[in-house]
Amino acid sequence: MWRDVWLISNNGLRRSVRDRSILIQGLLAPVVMALVVGAAFGAGFSLDVTVGVADEDGSQTSGQITQGLTGSGGGGIAFSTVSDPQDVDAAVDAGIYDAVVVLPAGLEAAVQSGSPAALEVVGSATDPLATSVAESVAAGVAANLQTARVTAAAGTTASVPDVGIAVQKALSEPPPIAVEQGQVEGTFSVMAYFAPGIAMLFLFFIIGNGARSIIAERADGTLPRILAAPVQPASVLIGKTLGVMIVGVSSMTAVWLITWLLFGASWGDPLGVFLVIVAAVTAIAGISLLITGLARTENQADALTTIIALLFAVAGGTFFYGVSGALASIRPFTPNGLALSAFVDLSAAQADVAEVLPQILLLLGLGIGTALIGLAALRNKVLA
């Protein structure tokens, strides 16, 4: 029996290797798409916000603030003095500044007298990010001013000998909370997200094609002739399944190795990655067998495969990076989404095999369960 299984799966494999469509869908398409995504997002691009500082007060305090801000900046945020503080709106409208922090007239007097004081941020509705950066900057300035005047007020109540020195010190003292920029450990490429996702989409087409060949061979009379020979129907079915699974695992492994070794996108722990690939291919093969078993004609199977493949891909998050909301909650209910979450754990969270075991087992269970139902239905068809 195993010899028959081997012959049948081998025949399937040989035919796949000759089929150029498999090369396009199983290898070229996922690699090219991953590269496009990698080129779009991998190169790195930075924040570029110019915040204007409009000194309407013209006082010593406002002058110091302006000087302090324009001397700082970096990390994609640049500061520059607004030459004509009376015309802030026009300057923002014209796009000279992405947002402006206004130090209004009377600021110094208000700060010193302890009466209510306010800074103003002028931003453009089309650039909420720049407005929010300017708001953060203004909040920082406001906090410093507040520190100065709280120090002044408290210094007076506590009869501190030299309030002026205390205020000066308060303004120059670094905050007790130091903020440093850390690094997310390890490297990660968005390709490690898109390549497996897109590979799985096309695997549905490739594996579905292989599974459907059972129906096609029955229709064109090849299958009855095979069965007339001393070959068990189970050998035919197992041989076919084995054949498509080898094609699936090889194509996805090739996509993995190419994106990893040639383009440096690490998918994470190799053992874990390989096991998730096998589990994902099992699930896709099981679903394809179920579709083939339930469909009445080859065309119907083709139609169902396409629709299910596209729906699973979309709902599984194949084309969307970094989403929350409705899509994020339906994602785990698709085999693609389940496998993608395992791939993400391996690549982005540097998880080991044990941590992705739940997803692997679920995928294997899904694959074996659907395959058993599909194969039972197909067996009846083959014998009919």
Binding site: V36, F45, A125, S136, G140, L145, G186, G322
Partner: protein, 379 residues
């Protein structure tokens, strides 16, 4: 004209007998628009930021509390470092903040490629300054008077002195595409699927070639051109149906304002021709229907990615924007931006329409030439 229309009618009927075709032209784009609109929601102004707190002290706790009230960031608390890293890498978070015991520096994590690292840094710095007022004031006053006395005085001053506030004034109106996520999902999915459907028309063309329809039409008095234009016309009609469904849904259900109807109408018409012509060309170049489909789907998706149908081209680097503009998708999406966001009319999108017309002429010209050769050589 009549023979071409008759051919188009036959192709149209053949097309809609196929349920996959029905699904992928009519249902799938609608499903996608819904999913994208619901998943990305309104473009929020708050940056999602994760906070990892290792036993924070009093200052650390007040920093976290301050961040929670911050208008710039939206905080989620994490207890596992790797979960935080994963969500930063997956783009679910714009950054992470690690708050440790008092005295240890607060660390900010952002992905190297993050666009908003500076914004996160500035938000956390500002929060740190705001929670530092008391500590600094007590610190500098304690140099001159006993600490207890300084503390009492500072706490009293904090209650009495009004905070220095920040008010924001926003100029202009929010872009329609930023305000209503569906306003960008509808045109981008429409451009993606119109082109994909056009390319898939190649399958029908190759089949017709295989079945000998070509050779037979050569024998007919009106020749091959009529047959090809009929086939192209049916694909064009399907594109118009897609546009009617998606744009209709956009207006009726999502309340999108698609701007000047003349400009958007012209855009949809020209783009429909481009898509149909691309399909005819692919049909001329491929040998089997399977091959045509195997190329059409990935090609349609890749061009959609490059041309800004999957994400706006404004988020990619200048080199990728240039490459993207080799595709008709990018020009069409530029035109939609002008029409929907800036209220451009026909004159405002003249450049984009001219480029798209150029695509249509070149693609259909090449298709006719290649098909003519095929017909003459009988292959």
């Amino acid at each position: 004209m009549r023979p071409a229309l008759a051919t188009a009618r036959v192709e149209w009927v053949r097309f809609f007998r196929d349920r996959v075709a029905m699904f992928s032209t009519v249902a799938l784009p609608v499903v996608l628009v819904f999913l994208i609109g619901l998943s990305f929601g309104q473009a929020g102004q708050q940056l999602p930021v994760g906070v990892l707190s290792d036993d924070p002290g009093a200052l650390g706790q007040s920093l976290i509390a301050e961040l929670e009230t911050s208008a710039a960031v939206d905080i989620t608390v994490y207890d596992d470092e790797r979960d935080l890293y994963r969500d930063i890498r997956m783009g679910l978070l714009d950054g992470g903040v690690r708050v440790g015991t008092d005295g240890t520096p607060v660390e900010i994590y952002v992905q190297q490629t993050s666009t908003v690292a500076g914004a996160v840094l500035s938000a956390v710095n500002s929060a740190a300054a705001q929670v530092s007022t008391r500590a600094i004031a007590v610190d500098v006053l304690s140099e001159q008077v006993p600490a207890a006395q300084a503390q009492t005085a500072v706490d009293r001053a904090l209650r009495q002195v009004p905070a220095v506030s920040v008010s924001t004034r926003t100029l202009g109106a929010v872009n329609e595409m930023d305000e209503n996520r569906f306003a960008s999902a509808v045109p981008s999915q429409l451009m993606l699927f119109t082109f994909l459907n056009g390319l898939l028309g190649a399958g029908a063309l190759v089949q017709a070639r295989q079945l000998g329809v070509f050779s037979r039409t050569l024998a007919a008095p009106h020749g091959l051109g009529v047959y090809i234009s009929g086939l192209g016309l049916s694909r064009f009609a399907i594109a118009m149906l897609q546009a009617a469904i998606l744009l209709g849904l956009g207006v009726a259900w999502f309340g999108i304002s698609f701007g000047d109807p003349v400009a958007s109408g012209a855009l949809v018409l020209v783009y429909g021709v481009v898509a149909a012509a691309a399909g005819m060309l692919l049909g001329a170049l491929t040998r089997t229907p399977n091959q045509a489909v195997a190329i059409a789907v990935p090609a349609g998706i890749v061009m959609g990615m490059l041309g800004g149908c999957m994400w706006p081209l404004s988020v990619v680097g200048p080199a990728m924007q240039k490459i993207g503009h080799l595709t008709p998708q990018a020009w069409a999406m530029d035109a939609w931006n002008e029409i929907i966001n800036d209220g451009a009319g026909l004159a405002g999108v003249a450049t984009q329409l001219a480029v798209l017309t150029g695509f249509a002429v070149v693609l259909s010209g090449s298709a006719v030439w290649a098909l003519d050769r095929r017909a003459k050589t009988g292959r």
